[in-house]
């Protein structure tokens, strides 16, 4: 009897999920162009943040290399965008990031904690300056133009990447790999002892998460129209996912999504309304939210959820207790 209730509720949720998806897909037909662009930007932050959490969330390795992978995507798009079709460019951008991450992952195996973070941050600067040097001395270009792509296409591509990423993140979390990653975060030596191939798992997850950041970079470059290495490898994009993930809360999959969405939207709203004071207001909001929401936004949501559910839960428990006593009587 329990099972019946479960499946019906599941079905209901699935329908809702599909409904939301349809609404999102249909968005360009009923909203203004700027909103779509804003949503693209929000999606960009969400994808970067969720990818970041994919690796750094469970393992506890704080990577500051997001900007490097993002920049690799952007640069791929700038270099290849003129000659290759966009989907191919996006995948190549992702693959370049993937291989860069594999390389970095293999090199940084010994590093832990802050040492790993700073190393990955150094990577951003290293790639940036290497490209600068390369562009100036070898290719003799100073900045590159990227072909402008229709924002609606960009939106759908972003949405697709987002959905694929959510699916993969969800599957990883559910699978034994998710548990293995979690165990690395808790006690790496122990994880290795119980037979988890720690090295392989870490490196591959890192690379997969970088793949998505790379693809987003390749897509977003088409909205930026002009880039050079300094623009493409902005360390800002290394810090943002960390902040957004903490802001949203990392315990659940939806935490970073909400965190990134609200963070990005808030920033845009403030920047357009208070161009001269937005940093001040933004900073105060950050400080206040961390003071009152130490577990991030999901902490707040979970509390709310509990309050809403407490009534229903009480009823449910009562029912179950009754059932239990009934069964006991039968047995007797």
């Amino acid at each position: 009897m329990n099972k019946v209730a479960f499946t019906s509720r599941n079905l209901y949720l699935q329908v809702l999920l599909i409904l939301v998806l349809i609404l999102l897909v249909a968005l360009p037909f009923y909203t203004s162009a700027y909103n779509i662009m804003l949503l693209c930007n929000i999606l960009m932050y969400i994808i970067i943040t969720v990818s970041w959490v994919l690796f750094s969330g469970p393992t506890g390795y704080i990577s500051l290399a997001s900007a490097a992978f993002f920049g690799v995507g952007i640069y791929t798009s700038a270099v290849l965008g003129q000659s290759l079709p966009l989907p191919l460019v996006i995948i190549i951008g992702g693959l370049f990031s993937f291989f860069l991450a594999l390389l970095v992952g293999v090199i940084t195996l010994r590093l832990r904690g802050m040492y790993f973070s700073i190393f990955t941050f150094g990577l951003v600067e290293l790639v940036k300056h290497f490209l600068l040097w390369w562009e100036i001395t070898k290719t003799n270009t100073r900045g590159r133009f990227v072909i402008l792509v229709n924002y609606i296409h960009v939106f759908y591509i972003m949405l697709a990447i987002f959905l694929v990423l959510l699916l993969i993140a969800y599957l990883i979390r559910r699978s034994k790999y998710g548990l293995a990653l979690q165990s690395i975060g808790e006690y790496e030596e122990a994880a290795a002892h119980i037979g988890i191939n720690v090295t392989l798992l870490k490196v591959v997850t890192f690379a997969v998460s970088s793949f998505f950041i790379g693809t987003v970079g390749a897509v977003m470059a088409t909205r930026w129209t002009y880039i050079d290495p300094v623009i493409a490898f902005d360390p800002f994009y290394s810090f943002m996912p960390v902040l957004m993930a903490i802001f949203g809360g990392m315990g659940q999959l939806y935490g970073p999504v909400i965190g990134a969405a609200i963070f990005a939207y808030l920033e845009e709203a403030l920047i357009t309304r208070f161009p001269y004071h937005y940093m001040l207001i933004f900073g105060i909001i950050m400080v206040v939210s961390i003071l009152y929401l130490p577990e991030g936004l999901i902490g707040l949501l979970q509390k709310l959820w509990k309050i809403i559910n407490s009534g229903r839960l009480a009823v449910y428990r009562e029912k179950r207790q009754k059932r239990g006593t009934g069964r006991e009587q039968e047995n007797a």
Binding site: L21, T31, A33, Y34, G143, F145, R223, D228, P275, M279
Partner: protein, 426 residues
């Protein structure tokens, strides 16, 4: 187990939707009540024939690394123009049969190119501004070019420029370039070098658009003029210590030292040259030296004899002094303020002449006519770049607290000081 994850997932998607619906609603209704507009007042939507003001939109860098340039160069002159036009009662537009005051909607792009292009499209698509103004700096301007062109908006490019613009301007009919850069400045500098009899030089350039372009143009020019170039070195943005380069130049005992970099590095270079007692006969720097804050840092004696690109001053044209008085001499950017002002004047006069706010009509007039501006008779050449004859100067030099034009010869307001006097107190 699926349930455990799907519940939160759905919640997050719903929240996401709700959030998005929140920002969607205003735009679907014709008169958005909560639309972000500075000042809070609303204007009627475009289709209405009645119009009581012309709205200009500008995305520029109020925060971030580019804010220095915005605050020292483009901000003051932009605000002055709006004040000035409104004091005159506005711009006369025949279509509406009256003078319309001008209004500015401004956004901050945090010196981030993605934010800039997005907000620029917001200005065009959502705020439906009548005209847009350029963002801060060359890279930003380049990124804004295709966006403005796509929507058929005139982009007056007063905030930057480089030779690479020639490669793309053909495909961007709405892009106008106002600032002068290396292709006119370097030949003028070359002339100056020959005239002063410079024998040897050292070149340092920043690893960026500006540095690569200028060093690429200057070095061949110097070699052509028989100057012995001791070394050409590049420096990264954000360098902390230039003493090694300065000591090397000092050891080579060069006549001229060229630092083709941005304000940060130029200031570092001047202060370290001062501290290390390096005083060549000629020193020329990239942007920054022509700004007033540079003089504030080192004082009149400290900047005496330093050269930079530019240039203009009160003696350049009859109207120049009037403009300087309006800006206030303490806020002038001696490279581009008059070019910026001329760009705005040309836009204003084109609107007046067109008698409409239609971009393509205004563009046509702007691209073909000659206007009377602070530069004198002013026009764009066939590439929609400000004609070289209209420039008020290419090379400038600080002389007793005044930024004087010293090159080319026919536009000079003063004789160059050569060799450069010693640093104060040395």
């Amino acid at each position: 187990m699926v349930k455990k994850y799907i519940v939160p997932l759905v919640i997050c998607l719903i929240l996401f939707m709700a959030l998005f619906a929140g920002c969607t609603q205003p735009s679907t209704t014709p008169a958005p009540p909560s639309e972000p507009k500075t000042g809070g007042e609303q204007e009627p939507e475009p289709p209405k024939p009645e119009k009581d003001k012309i709205v200009f939109g500008s995305v520029h860098s109020i925060s971030g690394p580019l804010a220095i340039i915005e605050e020292a160069a483009f901000g003051p002159i932009r605000n002055l123009w709006f004040k000035d036009v409104n004091e005159r009662g506005g711009i006369y537009v025949e279509e509406y049969g009256k003078k319309l005051p001008v209004e500015l909607i401004e956004y901050d792009d945090k010196s981030d190119i993605g934010t800039m292009t997005r907000l620029l499209e917001k200005l065009i698509l959502e705020d439906k501004v009548d005209f847009i103004l350029p963002p801060t700096g060359t890279a930003m301007l380049y990124a804004a070019g295709p966006v403005a062109n796509k929507h058929g908006y005139i982009l007056p490019g007063m905030s930057g420029g480089a030779t690479t613009i020639k490669e793309i301007i053909g495909g961007l009919p709405y892009f106008f370039s106002n600032l002068n850069f290396s292709d006119t400045q370097v030949p003028a500098f070359g002339e100056l070098v020959s005239e002063l009899g410079v024998k040897s030089a050292a070149v340092v350039f920043i690893e960026d658009l500006h540095g690569v372009e200028y060093s690429g143009a200057v070095v061949p020019e110097m070699v052509l003029r028989g100057v012995d170039v001791a070394f050409v070195k590049s420096i990264p943005q954000g360098i902390q210590d230039m003493s090694a380069i300065i000591k090397e130049a000092k050891a080579a005992d060069v006549d001229a030292f060229l630092c083709l970099a941005y304000p940060d590095e130029n200031i570092l270079c001047v202060s370290q040259s001062m501290e290390l007692g390096f005083n060549p006969k000629l020193m020329i720097f990239g942007p920054g030296v022509c700004y007033t804050f540079f003089k504030d840092i080192f004082g009149d004696e400290g900047v005496e004899g330093l050269m930079s690109w530019g240039a203009w001053n009160g003696k350049s044209t009859p109207e120049s002094q009037e403009l300087i008085d309006k800006i206030g001499v303490a806020n002038v950017d001696w490279w581009g303020h008059n070019l910026y002002w001329a760009g705005m004047q040309m836009l204003e006069k084109s609107i007046e002449k067109a008698g409409t706010l239609d971009q393509s009509v205004v563009r046509e007039i702007m691209a073909t006519e000659t206007f009377d501006t602070v530069l004198g008779p002013t026009y764009y050449d066939e590439n929609r770049m400000l004609a070289a004859e209209c420039h008020t100067g290419e090379v400038g030099q600080w002389q007793s607290g005044q930024f004087e034009v010293i090159g080319p010869k026919n536009k000079a307001t003063a004789e160059p000081i050569y060799p450069k006097p010693p640093w104060p107190g040395q």
